[in-house]
């Protein structure tokens, strides 16, 4: 049981977390933040997130926090 928290205002939409999430739980969103960027969203309906931290380690803007 784990989850991540994305700081949507600092997300730049580079989608590196989307590419590295082993379960595909991070997806490009349809909402825009204040800077006009499609920030990423965390959708985990089946509690599949392991808290492997790959998304947080690769995030260039340090906007992901991981809870486990």
């Amino acid at each position: 049981m784990a989850k991540i928290k994305i700081d949507k205002e600092r997300c730049k939409g580079c989608l590196l977390c989307v590419n590295f999430c082993p379960h595909g739980l991070v997806k490009k969103g349809f909402q825009l933040n204040k800077r006009g960027i499609n920030y990423v969203e965390f959708l985990d309906k089946d509690n599949a997130c392991l808290g492997c931290m790959q998304c947080a380690i690769i995030c260039p803007d340090a906007c992901i926090e991981v809870y486990r």
Binding site: M1, A2, K3, D7, E9, R10, K12, G13, C14, L15, L16, N19, F20, R35, I37, G51, M53, Q54, A56, I57, I58, C59, P60, D61, A62, I64, E65, V66, Y67, R68
Partner: protein, 242 residues
């Protein structure tokens, strides 16, 4: 639930000016994490370069100094000699450390100054518009080499880490990359070792980080990481050099 990955205390929670997918953000965070883990935030002094990372002092939450183009290691030498109790590091790009500042770099390393240099190698001049840097690969297209870099006209990519490894004053040189989460962790370990060498007063340490520049490589952030893995690491092999 416990927070297992948090924003480092030494990194300000502000939005950086870097492009989406830029490796500078990862490198800033790694340095901030290492400073937190070694508990040296009150005595570390960073020297920011000229280049994309020119306002790095706005992002780190510790003391910083700004140097003229290429002169970060000369400024760091002055700070370290006046204040030997502080931990001084420079953060420089390839245009700063390997082009205009080669002289300062080689002499600071040769004097064996007790400093840590973090060298971000992204194979182009990012701040000025993607021109050819000394580290640009053969065949790579940039703003000033629109048909690709040619060895007989532009010369070969400069391998500053291998050059510095020959000098006696240098104790530690490692080349790491940011192309995958595992490599990012290796990069963090190398940065930690470089800071630790300075705390132990061993001499000059340099960590070269291969970093993506998606904007001027004209790729998506993921393609840029793949390009590092498939092309750049062939010219700049990863691992400990000294």
């Amino acid at each position: 639930m416990k927070k297992i990955f948090k924003h480092p205390q030494s990194l300000r929670k502000v939005s950086t000016h870097y492009c989406a997918g830029c490796g500078h953000g990862i490198a800033h965070r790694l340095i901030a994490e290492v400073v937190d883990e070694l508990n040296i935030r009150e005595k570390v002094i960073g020297v920011a370069p000229v280049g994309c990372a020119v306002v790095a002092y706005d992002y780190w939450n510790f003391d910083c100094c700004e140097a003229a183009h290429g002169r970060a290691l000369a400024v760091a030498t002055g700070i370290k000699r006046c204040r030997p109790q502080n931990i001084v590091f420079t953060y420089q790009g390839d245009g700063d450390l390997a082009a205009i500042g080669t002289n300062e770099t080689i002499h600071a390393a040769n004097r064996g100054e007790n400093l840590t240099a973090i060298f971000i190698n992204n194979a182009v001049y990012g701040m000025t518009g993607g021109q050819m840097a000394p580290t640009t690969l053969i065949g790579q297209k940039t703003a000033t080499t629109p048909y690709g870099r040619e060895a007989n006209y532009h010369g070969w990519p400069l391998k500053i880490s291998e050059i510095l490894a020959l000098l006696k004053g240098v104790v530690y040189v490692e080349r790491v990359s940011l192309h995958a989460p595992l490599e990012v962790l290796k990069a963090k370990r190398a940065i930690k070792q470089a800071f630790f060498n300075q705390i132990e007063k061993r001499g000059f340490s340099l960590v070269e980080i291969l970093s993506p520049c998606p904007t001027y490589w004209q790729m998506s952030p993921k393609e840029a990481l793949d390009w590092i893995k498939e092309v750049m690491t062939k010219e700049f092999p990863l691992g400990r050099i000294k």
